[in-house]
Symmetry: D2
Subunit: 394 residues, 4 copies
């Protein structure tokens, strides 16, 4: 078989949860979408040679590196895909951009505003050289979320009054759940706030096309200590049997706030909402209509049109699987829903198309920095008696 | 027909929306429940003789008064039911209690903490004389809400972590909607906050059996001016054609906060949630389970039991119409749902039973005062840059 | 108080479940709707003097009769409301009509086609004398069902292709549930078929404005014998402890069929759908749109408009509580839902208005006969190997 | 990279909708599941050389054949995957089995009972030689459906009383939709009946572990003639502009029936349910519990447990994404749902594992034949006045 279209080699750093999902995306994107350029799964980087080779074999990567710096240097790598915890994002991304590699970086962009600023600056400088970068806020690429954005953009909601967003999970409700890296500030930056709160901040700002300008916040760590993981479990804190370690991040973060343009915000991110597994929920109320979304039913967008005859108004369950819905036409017939990983396929598609077109993809590192600044304002407000705290200008 | 059971005469003040619903309750309660004492719809009080007579005729009241003071004095009135706007609650309730009449008072208990304190003091004093009082937070008497309370009381939810409550309406989204009394601070005390925010505060505190101890809040008035109503429309501000008046209350109020016992709170009350008609929603997450309720589907309680086999966990849609559900057994067979007004029938039942039993019904004026103090803390926080504000001890 | 409007005395026969609900309707209808004529709850008839007096006292009836024939003769009774089992409908209704009394008769109209024919003939003859009659298919008066009818009438669904209707209950799943009158053919005529199947037949025919022309059916009795009730339990078959009696009616009835106009029908009535309490569900698919309804969420009508832009199509959850929805405007504000009994209030309203206007109310006894003929065709088809059986012309 | 595990070469016939989905499965299965044997996408067969090469390039097939007979003969092909219309299934499958190739065949197994019988016989003979075959009823592999089967198998539903199944689509509601191959009896065998009716028959029989023993049916073709497709559109009937052709299959098929074991069945398959896109719905009621599923919300299984305290009963929305749910553990964390194509990945996994284990996978060709016999009984009943028709013994 001859492939007429050009390919771009991808090098991925990290092969845990995010690495698995990104692999799925690179493996499938060219079979679903008609792309101007196709990805080649060139190399996977991880610290443990054996585990990395095993992952590469299973996930479909052609080669293995045990040092991300070598990965970045490879000639067959034109795209660096960063799937590591947040503490390493800045170093890898800045190095890759400096080496002229396009960079796709998992969220949150970084663990601190300072790192995120450095990354955004590097991205800006790289863009001038035609090197592209994108932060992986994948939920923008849920077809229902993209459709929500379209409705707002078309003015279907009128003036936005309310944005209420929740990201509810329950995977650490059990106090015996161990002290994994996501519960350690030095690795993860923050807890529910940065992990899932970042997602609803970005997704909400994307949908309404507005930025949060100030917040008043509360955070809480319900379980102060957790068991250390026994033995060598990679990123989890290790310890002997029965040893406990301090949880150094938030279990839950809540804030209210304001968007430019006048809308009110009510946000909540928690890993203690028993029974809610991945409930990323956003509701937007405008003067002409409303939207509601819950990722646990990700193929549905609920839309209320306030301009039609009141006797027939009601929230519509739009099954976002029609050919004229964002991304959906490339997949299966109407009603044949998509799953979580498809958002990453869409991300890969948009990133590759932007590279081919020579344009800057979104969300940019600048967008990632903007989210980081909201996270910082939330933490500052929570630390200062919940006082209303302005989000620093980007 | 001979009626063997004693009756208590009811005198009601006000016959607008609340008066109509309360009438429905008094008219039906004895036909649904087996009561130790039955109500007699003795007299209705209103300022306009004609309109009051017409209302009494339609709603089933035996007599009419045009001065509530006369109503309170009537010998055939043992219960005074106050259905007027909040600015008159304190005066009427205190007078009625002083006259030895049991008092059922619409919510919010009053427009200010000072008034509410005076009322609570009067109620306490009256209780010592065997005179009962209750504030009409009717949503406690939705069978699903009462069942939610039962589950929490039985420990089914474990330690409560999160309470998120919203009361969403949309009836003033249109800027042409006139300046009715509910939009005027001197009549209504506050806007969405006191009208519907008060409901979710009471209902949430009732369900979890805990009190809000502090809040951080934002309020907003989206539409600053509205048309004055033309001509004599009773409680609406009057004016000539085209004249505008200032909206002096909030359109929306949001707060985050803490409950005693450690739960986090996220609350929102708004009249600008387009498409949401009467969405009083409460979700509670505990260490052992969760509950979710939306008044727009008032016969359903959603319950997640986190203690059973994880493969069969899920939020259950409990249709709260079984004989062993609160209040439901007196009505129709399973699946034959109830409506809004039934909550008032249950209220009347519980009030009458408490009077007959010589016990103090709940929610008491003290409970109403507690809600008032939360409302005051919300307003204070909103006025002071959202800083965390402690709810004054009751 | 003077009542300027005329009243009509109501005499009701039977005070079990249906009698309680009808009482609720007569007690409230004039307080909710502005009626040209008001009902007076004149007399209640039942066989047991004590129990009837107790029921009358509780439900609000002014007098008591122990023989329905006396009730029919009373001068203060202008309306006879028949709430007895089906085996007595014909005799009472025909006598009442002969006595010049307007008749409201519970469904199914009768236990046999022959009885129903006699009743329809009597009603026709009485109508010529200005005496009105109506069969109490209350589900037509659910606001959501009436709105569904309006949508079909306005052509919003285009050509009707499919009607699928289910009435699912589960109250006799337990084999220890006793042999009540509803499980005895001589009292009830049939089982699920006549009790709840009759409802979906009428409701579906009402919504689509078409009649079932032929059916192919299956019926089944899962539990062949049940315990006799001990002692004197009124209408239940009595017996000693441990005695069993034969169930002589169907537990479930299913049929497929055709409507005039070309739509296909799929119907199912059962009392063995574990977990379904009162799930009267109807879905209608037309060339231009679809409707879906489930009585367990009775304030909602789901409507799909197939004529709008496909990217924003979806079933809308219309909360049928708006002022411009059928019946809803007389009750509470939007979002303050109604319950089961309200359908009977609407029935009473429409019946009283028709009497006052001198018009024939619907559904007529002729409509009831039409349903009876469908029931008969179902039974005949089931008895003859499910062969397609034409519904006899009315 | 060295691959330590053995591979099996796959040759696929057809690359339209089913071919695209099957390709997705072969491409991903080994990256998601730990398999004893991995598939190699060896060759794709299609009639048009150019289009087939293009499809192979996009979908990831290593080679191309334009004659399926050559594909079957290839040494690098050990598995033949048949994704063509039903009229060619028998010939290809029988040839492939004869050549010692394992066969995965799309459903319905064949267009006639005779063909299906020949295929089942060939499969039986091949199985004796260690050659495996499976019919691709993919919906068995929805995790929620597999969980439903588990619940029934564990006795959680008790005695099954009712199975109601619907498969509702709307893609040919428009009379201008052209006469594609699925609307032609010679290509497709039947219409909605064989295409989607076959799915609910298999899925329902799989869940309850019982077989349909007899049916009473109706079928209908609402639109008798449709436009011929212009020009060469592969499988669509061709014709000049404006030419019409006869629709020779059913648009909708309904039947009621009985399962061995005593349950009643109510089934409906239609392409005219406006607004329903891919609503494969199954509800099962048993003496101890009930299950409900709708593919439009494919990650949810609703389960009612009738054995627990009645005050807390209710249908649970089980999000079937937990590690202890069928197939789900290999994918993403809880709440990160799957999509349509994943059912095919699971199918590929089970097929490969069965081959490796030397066992016969399910559903077998015999299972496919059983479905075919139900389809035949439905058609016969519909042709003979809906009389109850016994399903021929397999």
């Amino acid at each position: 078989m001859t492939e007429s279209r050009p390919t771009l080699g991808v090098g991925m750093v990290g092969y845990a949860f995010m690495g698995r999902v990104h692999s799925q995306a690179w493996r499938n994107v060219a079979s679903v979408f008609d792309l101007p350029v196709r990805p080649a799964m060139a190399a996977l980087s991880g610290r443990s040679p054996g585990a990395t080779a095993e992952a590469a074999d299973k996930l479909g990567w052609a080669a293995v590196e045990t040092d991300w710096k070598r990965l970045v240097e490879r000639d067959d790598v034109q795209i660096v895909d960063i799937c590591t915890p947040g503490d390493s994002h800045a170093e890898i991304a800045i190095a890759a951009l400096a080496a002229g590699k396009h960079v796709l970086c998992e969220k949150p962009l970084a663990n601190t505003v300072a790192e995120a600023e450095a990354m955004a600056a590097a991205a800006k400088e790289a863009a001038a050289r035609g090197v592209r970068s994108m932060v992986a806020f994948n939920y923008r690429r849920v077809p229902a979320v993209a459709l929500a954005r379209r409705f707002v953009e078309e003015g279907r909601l009128g003036e936005i009054r309310h944005v209420r967003a929740q990201y509810l999970q329950d995977w650490i409700v059990d106090p015996e759940f161990p002290l994994v890296w996501r519960l350690q500030k030095d690795k993860a930056g923050s807890g529910a706030l940065g992990d899932i709160g970042a997602h609803i901040i970005d997704t909400a700002q994307f949908i309404v096309g507005r930025s949060l300008t100030g917040v008043s916040a509360l955070t809480e760590t319900f379980i102060k200590e957790r068991p250390l993981a026994e033995g060598s479990s990679g990123l989890a804190a290790e310890g002997g049997a029965g040893e406990m370690g301090e949880v150094t991040v938030d279990d839950a973060a809540l804030f209210i706030g304001r968007f430019d343009g006048g809308a009110l915000a009510s946000f909540e991110a928690t890993r203690f909402a028993t029974g809610r597994k991945n409930a990323l929920r956003i509701e937007v109320n405008g003067s002409l209509g409303s939207l509601s979304f819950d990722f646990e039913a990700m193929n549905e967008l609920w839309f209320h049109d306030h301009t039609i005859d009141s006797a027939e108004q009601g929230f519509r369950r739009i099954l976002v699987t029609e050919p004229d819905h964002p991304y959906a036409g490339a997949w299966w017939p109407p009603g044949h829903g998509l799953g979580y990983e498809h958002t990453f396929v869409h991300e890969a598609k948009d990133f590759l198309e932007a590279i081919a077109a020579g344009t800057d993809p979104a969300p940019s590192f600048e967008d990632g920095l903007r989210v980081q600044r909201v996270l910082a304002a939330v933490e500052q407000s929570a630390a200062e008696g919940s006082r209303f705290t302005t989000v620093e200008d980007s």
